[in-house]
Amino acid sequence: MLTTRTEQVVVREQHDIVNVRQVVRSWSLALGFGLVDLTKLVTAASEIARNTVEYGGGGTLQIEELRDGLRQGVRLVFEDQGPGIADIERAMTDGYSTGTGMGLGLGGTKRLVDEFDISSTRGAGTRVAITKWKRR
């Protein structure tokens, strides 16, 4: 699998969440994603970016354009150096949230993408990687 293009985006404040939506949108458009897949990926990015800002104390997003044989896709890697997630299994449950009560938990976000990978170390931070492949 090849990474053909990357970009780093700062995810520190609320305004950055809007920016993440815009950047991911333009990458998805450039790759020729269909409207539904594009909307799902942008929405998923928005959910995780908010977690990065709200719980992770801010971090970064690395966007990667992927090529695997004839397949093309986008991988979004969100990283923060925040307190980490104490109970990942619970965080993945629908409807679970510790913050402002506005969150949905990450279970719903996982359904919007093809691949979802999360790792977290208490006191060291959280890394969430999501991938969406272009449908042919």
Binding site: Q14, V36, L38, K40, V42, S46, E47, G107
Partner: protein, 126 residues
């Protein structure tokens, strides 16, 4: 049915702005004594859980303040994404466009205020 508040969201709102809208709308309902709120989201290409919850909140607050809320113009891709995300916008009335939304508002307000008028009216008893 009293003045209807018409809100058209034209830009991608950051979270604080979405919360401000919620506050402003709440105040406007009280100030104008509105019985209906129509929110046009046709320009929004993304509605994430925060925005979705905000729409549900507005509908809930409006209900407590004796007003009906209808959200109109949701793009199909947004609808698909919201449901898959697990947000069904329960308690939020939706319509395809502004015209249908106004019709729905009228009907909802009339229906809600209706029983007061027909109470004691033998002809309408069922």
């Amino acid at each position: 049915m009293g003045p209807v508040l018409l809100v058209s969201i034209q830009v991608d709102l950051h979270d604080q702005l979405a919360l401000s809208l919620q506050d402003d709308l709440t105040n406007a309902i009280t100030t104008h004594g509105s019985k209906g709120v129509l929110i046009d989201i046709s320009a929004l290409s993304v509605v994430d859980s925060f925005m979705g919850r905000m729409l549900a909140n507005i509908a809930g607050i409006a209900r407590v303040l004796d007003a009906v809320t209808v959200v109109v113009g949701m793009q199909p891709a947004v609808a698909i994404t919201l449901v898959e995300l697990g947000l069904s916008l329960e308690g939020v009335r939706t319509a395809l466009n502004i015209e249908k939304g106004i019709t729905m508002l009228r009907a909802a307000v009339a229906h809600r205020d209706g029983p007061l008028h027909v109470m004691g009216d033998a002809d309408d008893a069922d």
